[in-house]
Amino acid sequence: MNVDHELETMLEAAATAPITGDPARAAARFADRAGAEGLADVVYATVDSPLGPLLAAATPRGLVRLAYDHNDFDAVLDRLAARISPRVIEAPGRLDEVRRELEDYFAGERRRFELAIDWALVGPFARRVLEATAGISYGDLSTYKEVAARAGNPRASRATGNALGANPVPIVVPCHRVVRTGGGLGGYTGGLDNKRALLAIEGVEA
């Protein structure tokens, strides 16, 4: 009998044999703890919505990214890891407030968001554009030109369109309320169907 062979076979079985314990639960417990102890630089969760699943990501400063399904969540997480920190952890408990405000909004029970925003992914002009956009009231519409003016550069409506198209926190910063001067709907980071759906929630026919 080949002792070596038998011994190695038994040792090799360790790589595939069933084990006691639950790695998935241990990993979930770890993620919770890492989030709670502030060791994660970015925490995220998926949030169900009438527009499909959304990916919400936050830093200790606030909401940093809200992504639609078609943005490819894996790619969104890759960019967060590269641009903010690779310490990206799924910790749904840390995004309860975001989930609550979004649910209220989709139920028609919230007219403005009170979430803190982390602008880390946004350049200086884009930030002025988005802050101007955040000032547009629920159910109102504004034009690219008006937003550009409020951002301090009335002639930069093209750059304004780009900044809105790259809005890292759509819905919460309501770029869906910005339309073309002639009445056209313009573009939307989440697709035009979603733009229409959000405006419909707010009682606007577009």
């Binding site: 038994m10 998935a24 241990a26 990993a27 890492a34 890759d78």
Partner: protein, 174 residues
């Protein structure tokens, strides 16, 4: 530069591409948990798992490369298993005693089909031999990765594995 795969993050300014930690955790959690069940015993595995990934999360942003994350996390797991064994060995014994080998965990380390006695013998090997055998067979690492995990030369890793297996064989045939 074209993206190489979904799992590849954009390069940092220092050229290191690290996946989001959550993806790294999801990718390696089963291997690490399995490793700890064999290396530290099923009762200790869960705590050692938490310790392992906490240490990894702390050090993660300072990593110089992302090529060998599996070897890296198993190295941490190996060290945490040794810590757990030491802590367990210390508990019933006064501090002044020479560092005794830890008591092997209960025989039921694994479920059916596994030779529990063999694995309790593995856990009785000296740390480096034990590490080499576990990293090779449970962690499925190459000699070079085992060497890095044990902080020794590849030659020493081979020797530890060889001597460890030899001991097991002797006990086996006794």
């Amino acid at each position: 530069m074209a993206r190489m795969s979904r799992g590849t993050a954009r390069a940092r300014s220092d050229g290191v591409e690290l996946p989001p930690f959550q993806r790294f955790l999801d990718m390696h959690r089963d291997t690490v948990y399995r490793y700890l069940v064999f290396a530290a015993g099923p009762e200790e595995a869960d705590d050692a798992f938490q310790e392992t990934f906490m240490a990894a999360l702390r050090a993660y942003p300072t990593l110089r490369g992302a090529e060998n994350l599996r070897g890296w996390i198993l190295k941490i797991a190996h060290n945490k298993a040794i810590d757990a064994a030491r802590a367990r060995g210390r508990r019933p014994v006064p501090v002044a005693e020479p560092p005794e080998l830890p008591e092997p965990p209960a025989a039921a380390a694994t479920s059916d089909g596994m030779d529990a006695e063999l694995w309790s013998r593995v856990r009785e090997l000296p740390p480096k031999q034990r590490g080499a055998v576990l990293l090779r067979f449970v962690g499925d690492l190459e000699h070079a990765q085992i060497a890095r995990a044990l902080d020794c030369s590849e030659e020493a890793a081979r020797r530890n594995l060889h001597v460890g297996l030899q001991r097991l064989r002797e006990e086996w045939t006794r």
